[in-house]
Amino acid sequence: MPQDYEKDAYPEPPRQTPVVDKQTTLPNPALILTKLFYYSVDVPVTTFRGIVDSIQQDRKPVYYHQKFRRVPELTECQEGDYPCYYEAEMQWRRDHKVDQEIVKVVQERLRACQQREGSSYPENCAKALQLFTEVATNYQSRYGDLGAYGSARKCLMKQKTRMETQKA
């Protein structure tokens, strides 16, 4: 079966199932429905998955996560050295994608926290909320309004204006 998600990132609240203290002889509809769901959906799906896994057991291929070497940034390139510009641009694009994924993950965590806590999320999810606001403001200030044709050069110019406004 595929790996489960990281339990620390999306913590679940402690279970509060009460001790069963049945005082009637009437059948419990919730129990009936869960059993129904189990036998009609869960068992067939699990057996199918088991069959497919047993077919694929020994010959599973493997895939890797590509690691790119760091190359000189745009600031470290000589003027007029266009291959260096190209490599820096590609590295910037990869970093941009990685940052987008980071923002998505943090957003997902905040969403999960809000879903768990329900209406008491402002105080219970304070850490996740603070992390998300920090990450989002940083992303906005770095990659914010670059537009569809954003490039490493434009990002650098944006950083320059940011430093100038900060200094002034």
């Binding site: 291929p61 895939y63 190209y86």
Partner: protein, 186 residues
């Protein structure tokens, strides 16, 4: 014979089987009105009175939909079967750490087996594409530098005039007739 009641169709069938038994004489057996006309069953129960509904033709619409279905499923079903078989018998890849001293092939970075196959069979490795692009950039850079250098050299050669460019061909000095200007009083 559309629109006939059960009784009528039974009479017609019986008449077909044994034409003489339907109460006709041999003389008028070849006339088309073999079933008797006076038996019109209007109050036959069940589906109500059968009507000849006049509506605009839906032949072309139904033909279009039928053909669409046929041509879509002609390749759709084999593709679906193929993808299902690939997913069941050749499973998706699992993520693993890159072992030491091993450079994975470019198609080993993808998960789904069909993506891996496409990357292996049809596409160049992204490293190769990157290098090709870098080579193009290098060539263009050199071309640009050459052009700028050429303009610079042109400027200098025009100015100073001692280079190989911008030389005007003059005639051989032996051909010049200096007798016209040889004496000061000429």
């Amino acid at each position: 014979m559309v629109g006939m009641s059960v009784l009528r169709s039974a009479a017609a069938f019986a008449a077909r089987l044994s034409p003489l038994k339907s109460g006709k004489s041999a003389a008028n057996i070849l006339t088309r009105t073999i079933p008797s006309i006076d038996k019109v069953a209007i109050r036959w129960g069940g589906h109500g009175k059968q009507l000849f509904v006049i509506k605009p033709t839906d032949f072309y619409d139904r033909r279009f939909l039928r053909l669409l279905q046929y041509y879509v499923l002609l390749t759709g079903i084999p593709m679906a079967v193929l993808v299902t078989c690939v997913n069941i018998f050749v499973g998706e890849a699992e993520l693993a750490e890159i072992p030491e001293d091993y450079e994975p092939e470019h198609w080993e970075y993808y998960k789904h087996p069909i993506t891996r196959w496409i990357s292996r069979t049809f596409y160049d490795s992204p490293v190769k594409d990157y290098e090709k692009m870098l080579a193009l950039v290098q060539i263009e850079m050199e071309k640009g530098e050459m052009r700028l250098k050429q303009l610079e050299v042109r400027k200098h050669m025009r100015e100073k005039g001692d280079g190989p460019w911008f030389q005007v061909e003059t005639i051989d000095k032996n051909l010049i007739d200096l007798s016209l200007k040889s004496t000061p009083d000429n």
